[in-house]
Symmetry: C2
Subunit: 441 residues, 2 copies
């Protein structure tokens, strides 16, 4: 039987060897710390959920692709189950099952999600998402805080980004004013979303093909492509809407006016992009999307989110927007790709010191000393195989351990260790009991 076994990963899956996993953990810890500085707390939901909960339409929004890509199976009791493909539905389920939860509920969740979809370069079937949401606040103050957190995280990661902002309400208002037919609104939004990619001319062509009158297309594109500072753009759109016959349609303008004022207090740089649409999902208010400034390195979005006021209420068969919510999802995979390109991979171990006993007879003394070093919380490896010094140095070099420590008869007698910096070659004879000062100075 062992002859036939192919040693392979399942298609679309990957290992993270130590060097890669260490870098991932570093990045995740930076993101986690940022979430916690903003007062968001961790929630963990199971990897496996009931299929009916996963498939609930308002869970996936109209993201029917994601639902069709759920890994489905039954347990031995023949219950229909699936693997989670995102975290938002799980947060909605959690609040629904725990209605006593104190609001606002500020939570983050970081972990694997699964999609049985097509595999392309950089796309895997198990990947990490880092979600942060606040439930219970209808004020745009919550959206402003989330946008500020976006900016804070990317500053901590040293990534230069553009945060694009728009409002779903504003998009709807504009279409209402321009009198885009009700049954054409969704398809219009889909086309508008392509403005950045295919440009004004192509978008207009597509809209006309979809049956939107040319003058309406012109008017729509004119409004969506207003120029100027964020506030100037908003003012121009406000005037465009104000001129129309349905002057009370200013929900979006009001929402963004308030949001921009809060963002001013948060001191966040952002770009108001009236044509930003973010798919067709469950969003009900402000929407946001983050791109790396250097789009040559990465041109797809690396984080995005928005307000989703209706999902939890629908789950609970309560009034819509009885549980307002807003939040964002960080794409850990594109972020890791960027950081790997920028920094390269580091060490294959978190060990800072590799202890090399000189002479087999010294192994027991070397163990005792290594333990004294570990008690100072210094990540330390000791040669377990009685290898030669040159083989040990080669090992330390391959694993990129920054320091080696030699323990010969003299050092052991004096309770010292000869520390060598493998980068500079510099050697120092140090008291074992004082290594903490050396490593954590």
């Amino acid at each position: 039987m062992s002859e036939k076994l192919e040693l392979q990963l399942a298609r679309g899956f990957r290992d993270f060897p130590p060097a890669e996993k260490i870098l991932r953990e570093d990045v995740i810890n930076i993101i986690k710390e940022a979430f916690e500085i903003y007062g968001y707390s961790p929630l963990e939901t199971p990897t496996i959920e009931r299929l009916d909960v996963l498939e609930a339409k308002f869970g996936a929004g109209s993201d029917s692709d994601a639902v069709s890509e759920i890994y489905r199976f039954k347990d031995q009791g023949k219950r229909d189950l699936g693997l989670r493909y995102e975290f938002t539905f799980a947060l909605a389920r959690y609040i629904g099952m725990n209605p006593q939860t104190k609001l606002p509920f500020k939570r983050y969740q970081i972990g694997s999600v699964f999609r049985d979809g097509p595999i392309k370069a950089g796309r895997y079937r198990e990947f990490y998402q880092c979600d942060v949401d606040v439930v219970g606040v209808s004020s745009t103050l919550a959206d402003a805080e989330i946008i500020s957190l976006l900016s804070f995280v990317f500053k901590k990661l040293n990534l230069d980004v553009v945060i694009e902002i728009n409002s779903r309400k504003l998009l709807e208002d504009i279409m209402e004013v321009i009198e885009i037919p009700k049954d054409k609104k969704i398809t219009t939004i889909i086309t508008i979303d392509k403005l950045k990619k295919i440009g004004r001319k192509e978008v207009k062509k597509e809209l006309i093909l979809k049956g939107i009158a040319e003058e309406k297309c012109e008017k729509l594109l004119e409004v969506l492509l207003v120029e100027g500072s964020n506030l100037e753009k908003l003012e121009k759109i406000k005037n465009a809407i104000g001129d129309s016959k349905v002057a009370n349609l200013k929900r979006g303008v009001e929402e963004l006016t308030e949001l921009f004022s809060y963002l001013e207090s948060f001191k966040v740089d952002y770009l108001f992009l009236p044509s930003l649409a973010r798919g067709l999902g469950y969003y009900t208010g402000p929407i946001y999307e983050v791109f790396l400034k250097n789009t040559i390195i990465m041109d797809s979005s690396i984080a995005g989110g928005g307000r989703w006021d209706n999902m939890i209420g629908k789950y609970l068969n309560k009034e819509e927007s009885s549980f307002p919510a807003t939040g964002v999802s960080f794409g850990l995979e594109p972020i890791m790709e960027i950081i790997k390109k920028r920094d390269g991979l580091g060490s294959s171990t978190t060990a800072k010191l590799f202890v090399i006993p000189i002479g087999k007879e010294n192994i027991n003394s070397a163990i005792s000393i290594t333990q004294k070093i570990r008690e100072q919380n210094i990540p330390t490896i000791i040669d377990l195989m009685n290898k030669s010094v040159s083989k040990n140095l080669d090992y330390a070099d391959k694993l990129k351990i920054p320091f080696v420590g030699f323990l010969g008869n003299d050092e052991i007698k004096e309770n010292r260790i000869k520390i060598k910096n493998l980068m500079t070659g510099k050697e120092e004879l140090l008291e074992v009991s004082c290594l903490k000062d050396f490593f954590f100075k």
Copy 2:
């Protein structure tokens, strides 16, 4: 459709609300830090693996229960897949697929594993394991280091434990000397494993029922139940084996003599328990199992492991023990149960400070000040809902946030904040720019 949806978790699964997840993360971080101090590095393997790799007999040892409890499914390409039910097979597969890996390979892996098995109190179908193993070292020095790490982790967790140690080789040697029939060895080990639970008399009864001659039972139990210090017990067993006709059968004694000498250097407390058997899995040498000293709180093992020299070689169709390995798995779930009982749950948030703006007109100033506090890396929540002071205090109390900070006109003007300790009631007026000293002093 939404009417019919039951808001339920899948059977055997659970959420970890923030207070629980925060405590779990604290414990995991202590374990991780201990692993890294010993120079073990993180590896991450996928949640989903090929079913043939999961089912390979040498992967599961003879743990056929675990294999029968694998969640099985197909992807859209009709490939047979399953969810991982432990980590050892994945380490073996990883080494097999990456034969260039520098040895010794010291790795840890922490994460969810899945078993579609019976549900009892405290048993779930998704649970965490924390595995730490070293591949490439045949010397018992590696076993000694792993046992020392066991002790180190439980000291860091402040748990008083007994580490029981035995050798599979010793068990086999003893059975050989006593001339337990070859085809009865496995069943004999299964019965011996029950000594602690059912006692000498019952074990003897069971052995006789299984067809072991009474005098052999007596001799076996006599050897396994020798008394004295660890070294005295080993000496007695050595003599018992030495008296026999197969005097060269001392692999186990030699192995343990060496191991105990290393453990002396590591300064580890342990209990040599000649009857410890640890199932029938893939173990080939020293085995270890950890119990809480206070067995009233928890009487099942909370960590266990041993040497598994043959699995990777078998995977690779290479000589057995060409990739010697030893390691241990920590049961995070029983450890969490104990710690929850001991410490209770803590705060539902990692926030240290809750900022309460006094007066709606001060919200924008309060945001600016909150941002100055967050820039000092102090986990901070600000009221997003313009609630009354009493409602805000109630919220801070329910979430167990240790400090609140009031921002009224005077404080804002002076760039100060009135900090109140919710435990002691003590109030202090502090400079916003100096809060770091207050919180991290």
